[in-house]
Symmetry: C2
Subunit: 161 residues, 2 copies
DNA sequence: GGGGGATTGTTGTTGTGACAACAACATACC
DNA sequence: GGTATGTTGTTGTCACAACAACAATCCCCC
């Protein structure tokens, strides 16, 4: 039972607001990811797929470079290659060569992809309203997004990306 | 380029504060997870391992039921079984039978586990200070934790667990 | 006290992501 | 023009997590 006083002392360092925030971020992320994922199952649309479709839908020409998409999705390029493989096999996306850089590939939204993303919008929004909109009011949601964005940007700056 | 007006309209639903918050939560989580993970690599201590060790260190007797630990870690019980397998193989944890319930197993911190968790405390805290403490002041960190906790609790309430 | 149903933890299977190595290509320099 | 340097995307291999099926145990109520 008894730890040496020294070790115990250093373990107490984990009682820290930043550790708390980090832990809470992980737990909230997992809970939300699982909850929304279960709800989107009936569309056969995993959360990361929807993430890709949304980002494409928002981009001019509904297309994005693989590398850029990987950065946006916080994934490795190889991870994105596999992800796009699957989404393409499902017909929601297809690849086009980049006109001005023959190394590059563009992930492009297909009509089917646009369709399913649009169909999932209503229920997904309803889920998020239940999950986030109920415990937090509009101001608080804005606050949360802002705090998270500042951390995200800072981490990206520091880590070179 | 032109989507049917109808589809486009439904796609616009994704321009929503709740979707924004959700996306930012995922991105921030991934960035922070990767950044802290890279830093902890030199200890041979993946982030989830540290999560387990910290939770055990905080529990009376430095021990916790498998199921409870799984809930705390937001993991499936099978996922936790494998995770504890690995941590146990590394010698940071060992399993004991539950005295009052012969089905149950307790994950118990070993001296070596306590030692490595204590050793990682200082550098990990320094990382979090750089990653979270720099962009956010103390009040904002508290705010962030509070907002996240409220969402997490609400999701847990709704989703039965 | 003895079934029926729930709970606890492990296992086989499957899917997904990261890392390293590679080939194709672009860009800058001389 | 040709070579050096860096980038882009795919693949092999590995680690990790979820789901489903299962075995052991507990609980409860008749």
């Amino acid at each position: 039972m008894a730890a040496t006083p020294d070790t115990t002392k250093r373990l107490d360092r984990y009682d820290d607001p930043r550790v708390e925030a980090f832990g809470m971020l992980i737990e909230t992320h997992n809970e939300l990811f699982n909850a929304t994922g279960r709800a989107l199952e009936e569309f056969g649309l995993p959360v990361p797929w929807l993430g890709v479709l949304i980002r494409l839908a928002r981009s001019p020409g509904e297309r994005l470079r693989m590398t850029e998409l990987a950065r946006d999705m916080t994934m490795s390029t190889s991870g994105l290659t596999r992800l796009i493989d699957r989404i393409e096999a499902a017909g929601h996306v297809h690849r086009e060569r980049c006109p001005d850089d023959r190394r590059g590939l563009l992930a492009v939204l297909t009509p089917a992809g646009r369709e399913i993303a649009a169909a999932a919008a209503e229920p997904h929004l309803a889920d998020l309203e239940r999950l986030i909109g109920e415990p937090l009011d509009a101001d608080e949601i804005e606050q949360l997004t802002d705090l998270l964005r500042r951390v995200r940007n800072h981490v990206r700056d520091i880590c070179g990306a």
